[in-house]
Symmetry: C2
Subunit: 396 residues, 2 copies
Amino acid sequence: MMNIDSTDRQRLSEIRDLYAENLYESVIPFWERHSIDTDHGGYLTCLERDGSVYDTDKFMWLQAREIWMFSHLYNRVRPESRWLEFASIGISFLERFGTDDKGDFYFALRQDGKPLVAPYNIYSDCFAVLAYAEYGRASGDPAMLAKAIAIHERIGKRKSDPKGIYNKQITENREIKTFGFSMIELNMAQVLMQNTGDSRYMSTISEVTESILNDFIDHENNIVYERLGADGSHPDCMEGRLLCPGHVCEVLWFLAKSTDDPELLKEFAQALKWTLERGWDRDHGGIFYYQDSEGLPTDKLESEMKLWWVHDEAIYAALLLGYLTEDEQLIEWFFRLHDWSWPRFVDSEYGEWFGYLYHNGERAKSLKGGKWKGFFHLPRFLLESIDTLDLMLETP
Amino acid sequence: MMNIDSTDRQRLSEIRDLYAENLYESVIPFWERHSIDTDHGGYLTCLERDGSVYDTDKFMWLQAREIWMFSHLYNRVRPESRWLEFASIGISFLERFGTDDKGDFYFALRQDGKPLVAPYNIYSDCFAVLAYAEYGRASGDPAMLAKAIAIHERIGKRKSDPKGIYNKQITENREIKTFGFSMIELNMAQVLMQNTGDSRYMSTISEVTESILNDFIDHENNIVYERLGADGSHPDCMEGRLLCPGHVCEVLWFLAKSTDDPELLKEFAQALKWTLERGWDRDHGGIFYYQDSEGLPTDKLESEMKLWWVHDEAIYAALLLGYLTEDEQLIEWFFRLHDWSWPRFVDSEYGEWFGYLYHNGERAKSLKGGKWKGFFHLPRFLLESIDTLDLMLETP
C-alpha cells in the first residue's frame, strides 16, 4: 500500500475532519433548512447566500438530484428518518408534476408544478432514474425501483435522438457525440446496479469504459476530449476542440469505482494528470471551466470562470486515483486543489459553498443555489472524500 | 443649440478623427482582408487577433449583418465598388444556401453552405431583411428589395410563434415578451423605410416607440426592463428581473433617430441616464452585460463581463442623445465611456477591437470575430459617431 509520511497523514486527517464538519454541520443543514418547499412539495433551489429564496421555479435536474442525495444519505450514512421524508417530498412532487402525457420529464416547472419548459433535455430523465433508484432502496418500495428501470429503458429508446422534435442540429452534415452522455449512462448504470443488485448493468459500464478509453482519450496528444465526430475524429472546429476538465475529472472517478484492474486505473490516473496539468490556471490557480484543445478561443464567455462543481470533482478524482494507484503526484494535486478551493468557495459565515468565482478567484456570485447549482456535487464529493480518506488513514 | 466650450470642442474633434482613423484604417481593412471567403462565398467570421481563421462555420446573423454593413458603407459613405462586391459575395451565398425549403433562414451553415443548425431563430430572418434591403438599394436591383419585403412579411406571420416547433416554453403557464424583438422590429422598419422610401413602416416605428415607452420603461422605479409579462407586469423571477443595459442603449438611439419631438427625446435621455447609472460598474468601470433589477443573482455566468458591443452602443447613445437634448450629463457619459473603452478594447497592434473583457477590464478573449462578433456593431457605431460629431462640431 501507499506509503504516507506522518506530515501528509496529519494533513489528510485534518482535511477528513474538515470535510465531515462541512458536510454535516454546514452543507446538509443549509439545504434541509432552506430548500424544502412545505407549501407545494419539491425543493426550492434558487437560494441566496443566506438561504433566502430569489426564484421559485423548479428545475428538474436539481429536483431529481436532491431526491437522490437525501436518499443516498439515508442509504449510505444512516437511516435518518428526516432524510427519507425530505426525499419523499421530492418524489411526490415528481410523481405528480414531473412528466408530460408521454412520460418524458419536463425541464422546468413553476413552484406549483405547472410546466414551464418542455421535455427537450433527456438529462432530466436521466437524473430521474438516479432519484427513483436510490429512493426505491431507501423507501423499500419496489414500485419506485420498477419506475427507475422503466424510465431507464425509455431513455435507451430515445437516446439515438435524445432531443426529439427539439433537435436543431442537422446531423447529416456534422455529427458530434458528446462525452456528457457517456458520463450519465455510466452514472445511471452504477446507481441502478447498486440499488437493484442487478448485474446486467455491468455491460453498460464496460461499454462506456471502452468508449471513453478508445474514443475520448487521445493518447497521442494527451488530451481527453469532450466531443467526438461520427468517424471517431475530433473535428477541427470550435465544437470539436472543446474541452471541459470538470467533466473529465467526474467521469474518471466514476470509472475508477467500477474496476480493480491496475492497468486500467493507471490509464485513468494518467488521463487525470493530463487534464489537471492542462486545466490548471497558471496565472490565478484553479481549474478552467472550458478550454480549446489548441488554445484557440472557445465560444463560451464563461470559459475561465472557476466553478464549485469542477473543483469538487477535481479534488475527489485526484484523491481517489491518487489512493488507488499510489500516485504521489495525484496526492499533491489533491492538496493543491483543496488548498486553492477551500478559502475561496467555502462560506464560513452562512454555510455551504459559493458556486461561481471569476477567472482570478474573486467571488462572482453570492448565490448558494440556482438553476444549475443544487444539493448534489458538493455533498457527494464530501461524502466520497470522507470515505476514501478513512480508507487511506486506516492503512498503517 | 448646445454650447460646447473650447476644451470639449477640442476633445470632440480629436475623438472624431480617432474614430475616422479607426474605422477606415483599422476596422474596415481588417474585415476586407480576413473575412471574405473567396473559395465558397460568404464570410469567415471566426477570426483570431491577427485575422487568422479558427473556425469556418457560417452563422446567419453575422453573414447577413456583414452584407448590410458593406452595402451600408456603399450607400452612405461613397459608392466604392469593392464594398458592393463584398456585399454581393455575401448575398450570393445567402441566396444559394441561406434558407430551407419553406424559406426560413438557417442559424448556421458549414463553410461550403451545408446547413448545420435548423431555422429555430427568427433573428436570422430579421437580419436577412436588413441585408436584402440595404443591398437592394446599393445594387439597384428591385428583386432584392422585393425579397427584403417578402421576408419581412413572412416574419410578421411567424412572429406570434417565432420559434415554431423549436419552442420549449409552455407559454400558457408563463408568458414573457422580450425587448429584443421590439428592437429588431424597429431596426427592420427603419432600414426598410430608408431603402424602399415606403412610409408605411412609420406605423411600426410608432407602435414600437409606444410599447417601449409604456411597457418596458418603468417610470416609477427608473428601470428599463428586458422582459415583460403578458399582463404588462415585470414578473418577480430571474427571467422577469433581467436587465441588459446594452440593448437599452441600442434601442434608445434607434428611437432617437425616428423622432424630433423634444419631449420624447427627453424621455429617452432620461431612460438612458437611468440605465447608464445603474449599469456602470463602480468598482472596475464599464457597463455590465446583464443585471438583476433587484440586485439578486442572474442565471448568466457572464453578467459582469464587459462586451465591445455594449460599450459601442452605450457610447453612441450617450453622444446622440446628449447632442439632441443638449444634456451635459450625457456628454460627460460619452467622454467617460469613451475613455474607459478605448484603451481596453482597441487593438493597436493588429487592428480592430477585442470583444470580451473580464469584469475587471482585463482582456478575456483574443478573438476579433466569432460566433456572435462580426462586422456590425463596431463599424456602425464609428460611422454614426463620426456623423454626429461632425454635426456637433459644425455648430459655432
